[in-house]
């Protein structure tokens, strides 16, 4: 019996199929990003145009038929409203069509759970880094079992900072991996470094980096901004590690695709004898498999939702989600 997961929180439309924790299909389509960034209504149109094709292609790849479908999971949030709406609508119609349960999944929980699942970890400290989010998270049992946020960005997500910088520096395509490429051959310039306890901010760093483009090579600026931002994230993570005494660290979310960030976190782990894990890139990018994985866990642990409870929530915080599985 398989679970279908639908992800549509931002620019990526993902349809995944999971059976007993095993990925049968993980189809992805990405809205073509221009120098204007993401325009939510246009992305929603893109998702609407492509979703039927993506679902049938995922089902075909998974080699399942209608009677194999056990449940439908979809991203409830956090994300862009119009984009979430498309996934929600399709999930509802599939659930009605196949007469199977519908499960609203938190996007951040999904990123964390798939990395945890792939590495076989039990109770990791997680650094969740993407365009919209940057958080240090771990499981806490009180007042109910949930993923607690030990620290997070006070302003923008670290991925948003990279994307923004790429557009200002006219790097094409305008996203993090292009900045990472420019950073390969840079030299360090001092930039604002802001960590407050286990929280951090990125807008000051972004403003400074953009200003430093006058007078320094883009390589030096990209390198220094990346080193500064990742060092801040590592410091916050290390502080949370000391506080929680957890024995495993995972990194997940779009920015977890960065080689340099993983190298730095591995160094943090080595200094404390902590296990380090991450998922392959296809699961750090937004994807449907992680949504299906969590939907299956929700289903197996007895969660049940009526159609009325299945809406979207643009600001669906990870720490408000009751975790009903181990």
């Amino acid at each position: 019996m398989a679970v279908i997961g639908i992800e549509s929180s931002a620019h990526t439309l993902g349809i995944g199929v999971i059976e007993g924790g095993k990925v049968l299909a993980n189809e992805m389509l990405m809205y073509p990003i221009t120098d204007k960034g993401i325009i939510p209504m246009k992305v929603a149109d893109f998702h609407t145009e492509n979703v039927r094709k993506a679902v049938s292609s995922a089902v075909k790849k998974a080699g399942i038929s209608a009677q194999d479908i056990e449940a439908i999971g979809y991203t409830k949030g956090p994300g862009l409203g119009p984009c979430l709406g498309v996934g929600n609508l399709i999930a509802k119609s599939l659930s009605m069509k196949y007469k199977v349960p519908l499960l609203p999944v938190n996007h951040a929980v999904a990123h964390l759970e798939i990395a945890k699942h792939i590495n076989g970890f039990r109770d990791p400290l997680a650094l969740y880094v993407s365009g919209g989010n940057s958080q240090v998270i771990g499981m806490e049992e009180e007042p109910f079992r949930h993923y607690h946020i030990y620290g997070e960005t006070f302003d923008i997500g670290v991925g948003n900072m990279f994307d923004n910088f790429a557009r200002k520096a006219k790097l094409v395509p305008s996203w993090g991996s292009t900045v990472a490429k420019a950073a390969e051959s840079g030299r360090y310039i001092q930039m604002p470094y802001t960590v407050k306890g286990m929280d951090f901010t990125f807008t000051g760093l972004l403003t400074n980096a953009v200003a430093q483009l006058k007078g320094h090579s883009v390589n030096d600026v990209a390198f220094s901004m990346q080193e500064t931002a990742f060092s801040m994230l590592c410091e916050a993570t290390e502080r949370a590690l000391m506080l929680t005494e957890k024995r495993e660290i995972i990194v997940c979310g779009g920015v977890a695709q960065s080689k340099r960030l993983k190298e730095m976190l591995l160094s943090v782990c080595n200094a404390h004898g902590t296990k380090f894990g991450f998922a392959p890139n296809e699961y750090n990018a937004d994807n449907g498999a992680m949504i299906a994985l969590v939907a299956e866990k929700m289903l197996r642990s007895g969660q049940h939702y009526s159609m009325m409870d299945c809406g979207v929530n643009q600001r669906y915080r990870i720490d408000s989600v009751k975790i009903t599985w181990k």
């Binding site: 009180e142 607690h148 590592c234 410091e235 502080r239 000391m242 506080l243 976190l265």
Partner: protein, 203 residues
């Protein structure tokens, strides 16, 4: 000098030692392999310098360890006998110390200094007095927002009842506590904080 490590922090290690035959503490910022050397050296020396400067600026104004000597990465200071508030269990005593710590934070803020990590783990109960320790994330700033974040960190670390006792102490010592409290309410309404859970964590 013989040094015995008593605490391993994320940023610095803390050692028991003696200074001029007196029991002392050495706080040493250690090299972090994950960051590039130039950033690492800058952060360690800069933070050590600022921390020592802040501690010396507060000497005589609040209860804190006295600075004995400073090197590029190490601060030597008085050894304060006592227990961190975070591991105390006597509710009455905690309340008293929390109120006093509110008093000390107000004095710091009136001197345009924020603590940066103002939680019960960094309040030391020594007899009837509360001592503020670990100025590792402190800095000089007049920013109301930074002061409000000190209040926010404390609010997130203790119960509602204790926080009102804390604020009472803060109010009683501050020249004008209204702007920081107003800013705190504003920050909490920024969405990211509205739903932030308050799990009790060790530390």
């Amino acid at each position: 000098m013989e040094m015995m490590m008593i605490a391993e922090g994320a940023e610095a290690n803390v050692y028991r030692c003696t200074f001029m035959n007196m029991p002392a503490i050495a706080k040493r910022r250690i090299r972090k392999q994950y960051r590039i050397e130039s950033l690492d050296t800058y952060l360690r020396t800069h933070r050590t310098k600022i921390e020592a400067k802040i501690m010396m600026a507060l000497a005589g104004k609040i209860n804190l360890p006295r600075v004995l000597a400073v090197s590029s990465d190490t601060i030597y200071m008085d050894f304060i006998e006592g227990k961190r508030l975070s591991i105390m269990t006597d509710e009455k005593a905690i309340g008293r110390h929390v109120e006093e710590s509110g008093h000390w934070l107000a004095v710091m803020h009136d001197n345009d200094i924020t603590h940066g990590d103002f939680t019960p783990a960094n309040i030391m109960a020594n007899g009837n007095s509360a001592y503020v320790i670990d100025f590792g994330l402190s800095y000089f700033t007049g920013s109301i927002e930074d002061k409000a974040i000190d209040l926010l960190l404390m609010k997130r670390s203790i119960s509602k009842e204790l926080f009102s006792i804390f604020i009472h102490g803060y109010d009683s010592a501050a020249k004008d506590s209204k702007p920081a409290k107003k800013k705190l309410a504003e920050i909490e309404l920024r969405g990211r904080y509205q739903l932030r859970s308050l799990a009790t964590v060790k530390g």
